[in-house]
């Protein structure tokens, strides 16, 4: 193991990182109140951009904390391997799990967006009407 001499950073660096983190905190709150999807869907860029932006800002903040507060920038290669291992395995878990759930035919009869996959026949008189989870406005829906 090639040990690394300890690096003592200037206080100025910590203050700079703190200011950057606070700016990012304000940025994440401001973007949360703006409906980005209203613009992106109008320009055919898809939906869900608020979540993407919020997570990107969170990752940027985490990177700042890890690199400077946790001294990863000055750490050995081996420390980098240890630090990224958990994130990589979390990425695998998230990717495989979500690839299942995004492509699954969601029971009972709804897709991932909560829309019904098929039309439910109205129940015969005297029988409780079938329930479709998460489909508001349906008679007998569980909402």
């Amino acid at each position: 193991m090639a040990e690394v001499k300890e690096h003592i950073a200037a206080p100025r660096m910590y203050i700079g990182v703190l200011i950057a983190l606070m700016i990012l905190l304000v940025a994440t709150i401001i973007t949360a109140f703006i409906d980005l999807d209203a613009w992106t869907t109008a320009h055919h860029l898809g939906a869900g951009w608020n979540t993407v932006v919020a997570l990107l800002i969170a990752m940027l903040k985490a990177a700042l904390i890890a690199l400077f507060f946790m001294h990863l920038k000055y750490a050995s290669r081996l420390t980098w391997v240890f630090a990224s291992a958990g994130v990589v395995w979390l990425g695998i878990m998230l990717t495989l799990t979500m690839s299942d759930y995004f492509t699954r035919n969601h029971p009972p009869g709804v897709n991932a967006k909560g829309e019904p996959n098929y039309i439910v026949e109205p129940a015969p008189p005297g029988h409780p009407s079938p329930r479709i989870d998460n489909y508001p406005g349906q008679p007998g829906s569980y909402h």
Binding site: M1, I29, A54, A58, T79, H106
Partner: protein
């Protein structure tokens, strides 16, 4: 520690009584300590990661209910807590820096600031839990489908009146029948479990920092040996990082 007698690598009077015999020098020992902490933090990433993945599954499944649930949380208290925690991390970094220079008095000062901010965080968190209990947001029997009317007598306006005026009129988070959705409880389950586990980590961190302050009072840390401060610092920054992800994921779902 009686490592000095058995230490064959450093002369007896090198001033480094903490160097264990299996290490070549203080730098190698410090790197082993931080490496061990990073390994532990890797398991912590997966521990919290499991919660985040299950959260993602249910949020994809029921996005509207999660949005409704998030609107019932107080984003300004979550934001305030984020700022408090980032500031505490800053003071922790300064404490680690002081320990690198072997300045025990400054270590104590910075750790005190970190602990004070951590206690402030837990205080705000406790107040939030109380307000949520008061509004009937706790899942289970006490979960209220009918949000309480926003009168001047409610706990929120008693404590947070100026905040409510500042953030605009209260809009009950309910469907066209004035009801909360039953599945909002699922979001609240995630909220309570994730924030409670995070708060538990903070309590452990406060305990560790108290131990560090006791060591620093005895002038235990030197430029050559301050591994406990370094390692607890890593832990504290990790707890901060978890909250950095929890805040947007739980509080900021206005436009998901």
């Amino acid at each position: 520690m009686s490592a000095t007698a058995t230490n064959i690598h450093s002369p007896p009077n090198s001033g480094d009584a903490h160097l264990q015999h299996q290490f070549k020098n203080a730098d190698q020992q410090r790197e082993s300590a931080t490496l061990g902490m990073w390994l532990f933090l890797g398991t912590e990433v997966l521990f919290f990661g499991g919660l985040f993945v299950s959260y993602a599954i249910y949020r994809v499944r029921w996005p509207d209910d999660f949005r409704e649930g998030s609107l019932d949380l107080k984003w300004y208290l979550g934001g305030l807590n984020t700022a408090i925690l980032l500031l505490s991390s800053f003071f922790m970094a300064l404490g680690v820096r002081a320990s690198q220079q072997g300045d025990n008095r400054r270590v104590i000062r910075h750790l005190l600031a970190t602990i004070a901010l951590a206690v402030a965080f837990l205080g705000v968190k406790g107040m939030e839990y109380y307000l949520e209990y008061d509004e009937g947001l706790v899942p289970g029997e006490s979960f209220r489908l009918q949000p309480p009317p926003r009168s001047s007598e409610s706990a929120l306006t008693r404590g947070m009146g100026s905040f409510e005026r500042w953030t605009g009129k209260y809009v009950p988070n309910a469907d066209e029948h004035g009801q909360r959705t039953r599945r909002e409880q699922l979001f609240m389950c995630f909220y309570f479990i994730m924030t409670a586990i995070h708060a538990t980590h903070m309590l452990i961190g406060i305990g560790l920092m108290t131990w560090l302050m006791m060591l620093a009072r005895r002038r235990a840390f030197s430029a050559a040996w301050h591994n406990p401060v370094e390692v607890v610092g890593l832990y504290w920054h990790f707890v901060d990082t978890v909250w950095v992800f929890l805040f947007p994921v739980l509080y900021l779902l206005r436009n998901p």
